[in-house]
Symmetry: C2
Subunit: 698 residues, 2 copies
Amino acid sequence: MPSNPEWVKALKPSGPQGSELLSQERAKSNLNIDQLADFMFTQEVLKRNDQILKILQADPVFDKSQNYFRGRISRIEAALARGKRLQQLQVKHRWTRDEYQTASDLISEPTPYGLHSSMFIVTLREQGTPEQHKLFLEKAEAYKIIGCYAQTELGHGSNVRGLETTATWNSDDKTFTINSPYLTASKWWIGSLGRTANHAIVMAQLFINDKAYGPHPFVVQVRDMKTHEPLPGVHVGDIGPKFGYNTMDNGFLLFKNVKIPHVNMLARFSSVDPSTSKYVRPSNPSLVYGTLTFVRSTIVLQAGSTLARGVTIATRYCAVRRQFQDRDVHEPGENQVLNYTMVQIRLLPLLAATYALHFTGKSMIRLYQENQKRMSAGDAGKLSDSNRGPGPEELNPGTDLLADLHSTSCALKAYGSTTAAEGLEVCRRACGGHGYSSFSGIGTWYADYLPTVTWEGDNYMLTQQVSRYLLKSARSVIQGKAAKNDTTRILIDFIRRRDIGCAFDVIGNDDDLVAAFAWRVSFLTFEALRHRDEDKQSWNSLLVDFWRLSTAHAQYMIVKNFHDALRDQNTKKQLDSETVSLLHKLFRLYALHTLEREASEFYSSAAVTVRQITLARTKTVMKLLEEIRPHAVRLVDAWKFSDWQLDSSLGRYDGNVYEDMFHRASELNPLNNVVFDPYPDSKTLFKKDERKDLRSKL
Amino acid sequence: MPSNPEWVKALKPSGPQGSELLSQERAKSNLNIDQLADFMFTQEVLKRNDQILKILQADPVFDKSQNYFRGRISRIEAALARGKRLQQLQVKHRWTRDEYQTASDLISEPTPYGLHSSMFIVTLREQGTPEQHKLFLEKAEAYKIIGCYAQTELGHGSNVRGLETTATWNSDDKTFTINSPYLTASKWWIGSLGRTANHAIVMAQLFINDKAYGPHPFVVQVRDMKTHEPLPGVHVGDIGPKFGYNTMDNGFLLFKNVKIPHVNMLARFSSVDPSTSKYVRPSNPSLVYGTLTFVRSTIVLQAGSTLARGVTIATRYCAVRRQFQDRDVHEPGENQVLNYTMVQIRLLPLLAATYALHFTGKSMIRLYQENQKRMSAGDAGKLSDSNRGPGPEELNPGTDLLADLHSTSCALKAYGSTTAAEGLEVCRRACGGHGYSSFSGIGTWYADYLPTVTWEGDNYMLTQQVSRYLLKSARSVIQGKAAKNDTTRILIDFIRRRDIGCAFDVIGNDDDLVAAFAWRVSFLTFEALRHRDEDKQSWNSLLVDFWRLSTAHAQYMIVKNFHDALRDQNTKKQLDSETVSLLHKLFRLYALHTLEREASEFYSSAAVTVRQITLARTKTVMKLLEEIRPHAVRLVDAWKFSDWQLDSSLGRYDGNVYEDMFHRASELNPLNNVVFDPYPDSKTLFKKDERKDLRSKL
């Protein structure tokens, strides 16, 4: 398509311009953006982001201008090229793991190397023996073999114990035979497997002499190292298009009695003794399962920044977009959409949530690291992870923080990722019609994020683990054998006061506000305990209650962590008092808005009165919206997303949203190189097709 | 990609097979599916659907097998071909409007003729004079000119009064000059405009002698009839990819002083007298605005079937999918996912909502038609539509049902389409990981439906109109001048009893259950009235309350309509008592589940007690889930979606979901014709590219 005609180039949006409106917004608030950003991310990290951004922007492989227009095959082709270049850059600049991650975040789409550089390498490192490191890990790190992690099957997602792929030990020739007895045994959803990997870590049911030993990890080569064609007995391919994540080649994989050597079973924790054919039991699996707690804590932290992208885009656009005049205030011109309370009530609590999740995630990771230190020092708590299913009630909230941390990470992973996913959709809709355009930059981001509510523990499944832990804690409290941690503290406090009542001043006193969230959790815990232990209700009949309980627990943890972060001496040292006071308003907005949304549980637990809820809703929350409103744009600016990363017309830092929308539609859009033949009876569909080359047609 | 190897073809899913499980499901229930379907849709319509389905399935143009794999340009190319064939079939089979619509529904994706066959032709018909019908409508109906309806602009979505495109009357040569003074004046989102239309009905601000007369419709030719290239002074094109709706060429359009003759202003309701240059005022605009009420009622009805597709897919798949064993019941094998209460609580209330919306939509359309008859008979109520903004409070709930119907249609359009959109996403997630695959059939359907929450009145904006009407009604009640309709009836009833209290038996008595919903609406109405009229709160500060009020009103209307439908003599005549009793359970599930979700408003209005809510939640709703569960598959079967229409692996009628997933991934997926070169330093990205031809590469 030719560029815009001269008369079109001469057109401006009608005034006031988006750039003027955003300048006004930024002038309205004194918030020190750099100070707040330094506090949240550290100067060092921000500087590093800038340096890496420059490198990526200078490289045409990472050019984003055609991203939204491409079909799946050319998208994944571009992503493969990017994955390769990223690896070259990592070698060239000697990027650390963190720097590589920063580059990936800036590119903001998965590449076909995604699972190789994460799960394949991590699993080899953590579950391989030194011999296996030499054999597989070193080659993987040098990208001489490309791998993936093949666990989920067509018929089995959450339930790892139900996997159908088998690995049968052959004592005669010291090999394992990997086999897929059913169609449902096909590995499915395996990232990087569809077209990219030539190796897979395959989780398969180990059989020795017809006895089953449960799922174990095996390294299996699946494609020829030269031709990259599937090996004999292997059927492998891409599982097709998805709602998002289409730059990744999620794959399927079937085996017909494929033999692999003994050394291919990852043997750090359990193994088969080749001489005796005896199974060697796992040693200290808690070290492995601890990783899950870390991964989930990272998801909580990322939930904050994931949501913050959407909130940044929507807040800036709602400050630029003007529709209608205020009904009561008769000023000339239309009103910024962000001035309407119906928009504020959708966006500003989400803005508050981004900060709440950030501080909560930070705190979780800090706790995890402290606990890892303690564990290395030998004080390890016993912990098992039943992530993928309702395992036995074996958690022991005894010796230390680990069980508590594990449960909290489950609750927060579930609630945090749901908040981010659903919040992004709220942001998209808050942009009105234009939110539906790919150029909003929210749709793709949302669609790519959605799997997070399912992986690393399905958000609904996880709530069972949380509840199991809370019930166990409550039993220990009743028996007077409670461990010392925050969960038992709030349960004990509740028991002490349940007959007296609580009378929290949730509007006037922050400690009371946090305490009301704790009260509700405790109330729901003892309710559930009564149903389970006294009324002997079935586990299945309580699943909905468990989900509510876990959600309540997560909300309490977020409110508490946000509150703690603001009271921290370090915070007060690094931030000026105005910033702390603004963050405090965000804390109150988050807490009171949540309290109001969940009003019925707060009532029925008698944590608050109906009058308090009504006041919170009609007065306090509305007042907070008004007070935060002038700082909204600066508060999203503090997240420091670059325009390149956001890739959004609506969320541009400079506010030139309409110019950018028009430019992308009119000058970048390949569909405009095609001239339709519009009449039903014509012979052709296109009168002209001026797309330059095959590549641009993909 | 070659077809599956023999050993793969020989594999079956592990048992029990999906087909066995769905057969068992259907055997568990006695529900007479055909009887229920006949009642909902009529035999005649169901038969017609089957006939049209056969025609479409036989035609390769409508083959769906590559739909999910195509990039945007080849998707829209296929859609254009389908639009053309559809038109040919309509001529060939002499399809009525309804039959054409049925065919479109079965194809289930927009085509580039979408806005031509709807808004362009309808607007010409309704707003054109006989002369204009001859000039434009006849050609449009013969597809000699292809058109669209160009209202929304880049800078103005909801607010029609703020449109910037101008139409200036030139008295000297009796023409109008159409002009886009700003970039933001560009028409935007205009369906069928991007590449297809050669004509547009352009909404532009009419100026006569420098005086503005507001937005009016003008027919403007935008492309050459032969070359299909834009005419001079016209800049037109496709606006680019969107979250969904990518088979439609939504377009942009800018004019540089384009002249059109006098006859091109659609002149049925208002016009410019060419000899005097005087503006001729609109006659009876209420006839036009009545159409909006009809369109919105249709959206309510469609919301039911839209959601029902997702519920059908998710319910069938959750009956086939098995994960984990029940914790308490130790049976061999895994449990059907549909047996878990956490899945039931997500799906079954949505199943109930599909029926609730269906009966409500039916009732709305019947009321509308009755009222149209009355209006034609001269008894027309005055009605103005402020759909696109907070207009003056001019509704007069005086003479008849129309104002009430209009308000109800706004409330129900907003709530019904939001319920359907968000419900579809719940269905997608209830399918677990596989819900994320395009082959689930929910993602695309959801993404294509999303614009409905914005168009025909943004769902948030509409709630202001509803509240304005309810406030006005409340004032009329207080003044003793109330019209006779259902709204004033419930308001009067509330005033009569507000000091006494209500004591509704919501669990034991259906009438009381409906009355509790009415009570809450009335309570919220008088609360809002007090804030507005006594406390003099600003309109803006009440927007959130208005949204809640409108939502409450919609929920009341749905509960009431569902209840009325079940009590109707006709229902009892056409359905056996077991079916009525099952529908009654769905009614109670819908009502009590809604009551429980909105518990805090029911409490604070004193419509129910805390104890009642607790009982409803923990006992009644859980019991209803258990009672409805065995009938779930038959209840979705009664919606009578064909597999071809659903185009879903997970939602297949026969339950062979895994075979179908595998077939699509392994044998239809074009990405598997490409062999990657996986090493970072290799020269190429693809080692092999065996996609057959250019077309398959698009």
